[in-house]
């Protein structure tokens, strides 16, 4: 056993309101620079939708991630042979138009325009060329556009659905969507690291953050192809690839990453998990149906004494072990089994987990007679004589899940490599907790029914309350359990602190500017 620590995350999708605050927080700190305007290390997509870059999930187009090759795995569009052969021209590289051409407006024209008969306008100009452009795409162009032919219906995850299922999904009355915020997953088996010919990308042993050494990157741009989540971006200005750094300078000083700190829906959780580094490769090679289970298997129980001993032997600090025990991520992922990795079939073993959303699944439209109700309305009140009801009631316990509006197959394609059982398990838990809490707070749910639901979902009322607390009430320190990173020790070990006394200090001494 080779125990290592990983800072990992859980996003609770039921809570995401799609406000994009996270994206803006990230942009303001890290990517508001020339060449990086188009990058959204954190972006929020509407699902079903094409996402950013357009149709990123379609690996037949982008060739990202790993694929099984006999008993082993290989990179789809990069790797030692393909990467070096294609170094002069990478046929699988997404280009700027797959994201969008960054733009601004000539605001000054509004102010400095001479007096005219017409209103002055601010024309959009490209941030690359500075010339006027027609904006064709933006960072979240498909926002809230479920059902649209250009966006929602082109979602690559729909391919597994039958024509009829798709049509049913996009009937006007049945339209549903949810938000999917994405950052780099800081994978255990990162394809970006494996694909970099220069060896510029690495995973940090201490906390598992995946970083690109900007001084070693030589613009061979293989990581952009290899990352199946398209979370490594090429800076066209400086000629270097960049990616989410999980705000490591903030983490090292005990702050939550900016996207998480600012999250309005409080959907984000961050904490340490211990994992067994010796088993990563075998896990990444397992059969598609076992991928999720074996990934969860690699994550170790921080209460297990054997694990604790092995962790200590590997130099993991007690404070980190303590943080792993208190980690909200460990609870969601391992203890409660409620969070799943996004697209596990890409085989990078992503360490960002999602609680799949229940909301768009619940409720259907049933036909009722509303005439009685309509008569009671004031005559002057505006109302529609519709005869249907947004109905969440059901006779069977799990009816809303089984007859879900968002096909389970679709969800399974996103979060469990096609295994619907896993999605149903999580949904049952989510629903059971809701029923249980309704019994407690409102009291109009049959107590027996709530108990049966909890039991069938594999929960008891105590656990349900705990999950409810962490989902709805948790305070900042419950959601983000950040271990001390002992940076002071690190600096002390890297340099004799006396030597640099009075000098410029640590860090960038050279401006990150494009070379000649």
């Amino acid at each position: 056993m080779n125990v290592r620590a990983q800072i990992s995350m859980v996003f609770h999708l039921d809570k995401c309101i799609g406000c994009h605050t996270c994206s803006i927080a990230c942009k303001n700190i890290w990517t508001d620079r020339k060449g990086a305007e188009y990058m959204w290390w954190n972006n929020v997509e509407t699902k079903p939708g094409t996402g950013y870059p357009t149709k990123w999930e379609d690996q037949n187009v982008y060739n990202g991630g790993w694929r099984k090759d006999g008993d082993d795995i290989e990179l789809r569009g990069a790797g030692k042979l393909r990467g070096l052969v294609n170094i002069f021209h990478n046929p699988h590289l997404p280009v700027i138009d797959d994201y969008y051409e960054p733009f601004t407006y000539k605001y000054l024209d509004l102010i400095e325009s001479p007096a005219m008969d017409d209103q002055p306008t601010a024309r959009p100009v490209s941030l690359i060329t500075g010339k006027p452009i027609n904006i064709k795409m933006g960072p979240n162009w498909d926002d809230d556009l479920s059902g649209t032919p250009d966006y929602a219906r082109k979602d690559p995850n729909l391919e597994v659905l039958s024509e009829a299922e798709r049509e049913a999904m996009f009937q006007l009355e049945k339209l549903a969507f949810f938000y999917l915020p994405r950052i780099c997953n800081h994978c255990l088996n990162p394809a970006c690291v494996a694909s970099c010919p220069s060896g510029a990308i690495y995973k940090r042993g201490e906390d598992g953050i995946v970083l690109i050494n900007q001084k070693v990157c030589r613009a061979w741009r293989m990581c952009v192809t290899a990352c199946p989540y398209k979370k490594s971006y090429y800076n066209w200005g400086t000629g270097k690839s960049e990616k989410c750094i999980l705000c490591y300078p903030r983490l090292e000083s005990g702050y939550a990453p900016a996207c998480m700190h600012s999250c309005v829906g409080r959907i984000r959780y961050l904490g340490v998990m211990l994992y067994d580094a010796d088993r990563i490769h075998d896990t990444a090679c397992s059969d598609e149906k076992d991928l999720v289970d074996s990934q969860l298997d690699v994550i170790l129980n921080p209460y297990d004494e054997e694990v604790q001993r092995a962790a200590a032997a590997n130099g993991i600090a007690n404070s980190t072990l303590k943080a792993a025990q208190n980690s909200p991520v460990y609870k969601f992922v391992k203890e409660w089994g409620m969070a799943l990795p996004l697209h596990p079939e890409f085989r990078t073993l992503p360490m960002l987990f999602y609680v799949p959303p229940l909301l768009p699944v619940m409720a259907k439209l049933s036909t009722v007679n509303n005439d009685e109700q309509a008569k009671k309305m004031d005559e002057r009140a505006k109302h529609w004589p519709d005869n249907w009801l947004y109905d969440t009631s059901t006779e069977e316990l799990w009816g809303t899940i089984e007859q879900s509006r968002m096909p389970l197959k679709y969800m399974a394609n996103l979060f469990s490599a096609g295994d619907e059982g896993k999605i149903v398990n999580v949904m049952k838990k989510l629903l059971a907790i809701r029923m249980h809490r309704r019994r407690v707070t409102v009291g109009d749910v049959d107590a027996q029914k709530a108990d049966i639901m909890l039991k069938e979902a594999g929960l008891d009322s105590l656990t349900a309350d705990e999950i409810y607390y962490l989902t709805s009430l948790a305070k900042f320190d419950d959601r983000f359990v950040i271990p001390a990173s002992h940076r002071e020790q690190a600096i002390e070990m890297l340099e004799f602190t006396g030597d640099v006394k009075g000098s410029t200090g640590f860090g960038f001494m050279e401006k990150p500017e494009r070379g000649l």
Partner: protein
């Protein structure tokens, strides 16, 4: 005339090599961030294929060919003693030259006509491209007009270049050469001279070690194991890879 020849064929090469050698090392150590191939594929994908691939394949092999003849002139002469082999070599080299010419032409047109690319082009990029363009044209003209290049290069120019490196410069032969060939030689020195000041540095850092390094890289910034051990002496440790 004598003085100019000394300037061009002794002073210039030494200057170029010195600047190249120390300049590249200095830039690597001081401005490592600037070592990049500055790929523009992200802004323009399609015509890059027809430019970059034929250009790079051609120019890299031609460069290695020149290097080979400088280092092993006797072997090349022996190879060339047979007409068929000579023709194979010469025609092969000519095709590579034409391929790089074709590629570079595409690259030049692409850079001049695409507004996005012009936004990321520095004056140095133009200097580099035009210099290499001129060099390739001269090279092809020489290959066509002064046969057989691989043979007289091996017998006349290799000794000159070796003489430079052994610090006994002998410019007797070069100064007699036709001006086209002289220009080609001077062009080469100029290209070497500007390497440290241009994007050409990327040819100094080809990712060869990728072939044998393991796919995954985990880097430890501080040895916690070491830091916690009572028996270890506290020393400065550099980040290490496992």
């Amino acid at each position: 005339m004598e003085k100019i020849n000394i300037l061009l064929f002794i002073v210039l090469p030494y200057l170029s090599l010195l600047v190249f050698f120390f300049g590249s090392i200095y830039r690597y150590r001081k401005y490592k961030y600037e070592y990049s191939s500055l790929s523009s594929q992200f802004l323009e994908q399609k015509s890059l294929f027809w430019g970059s691939v034929p250009f790079h394949v051609g120019i890299v092999l031609i460069f290695l060919g020149h290097l080979f003849i400088v280092l092993f002139p006797k072997e090349v002469l022996a190879w060339n003693s047979n007409l068929i082999r000579l023709l194979t070599l010469e025609i092969g080299a000519l095709i590579l030259g034409l391929s790089s010419l074709f590629g570079l032409t595409v690259l030049l047109i692409r850079r001049l006509t695409n507004a996005r690319l012009r936004a990321v082009t520095s004056p140095m990029d133009y200097i580099v491209e035009f210099l290499i363009f001129a060099q390739i044209i001269l090279g092809i003209y020489i290959a066509y007009g002064y046969r057989w290049g691989s043979s007289w290069f091996a017998s006349v120019l290799s000794p000159y270049i070796i003489s430079l490196f052994t610090f006994r410069p002998d410019i007797q032969a070069v100064s007699q050469m036709p001006w086209v060939i002289q220009f080609h030689i001077i062009g080469a020195y100029l290209i070497v001279l500007i390497v440290p000041f241009s994007r050409l540095v990327h040819f100094l850092v080809p990712p060869i070690h990728y072939i044998w390094r393991p796919y995954q890289q985990v880097i430890w910034n501080w040895g916690r194991k070491k830091a916690k051990s009572k028996d270890e002496i506290w020393t400065v440790t550099r980040p290490f890879n496992n």
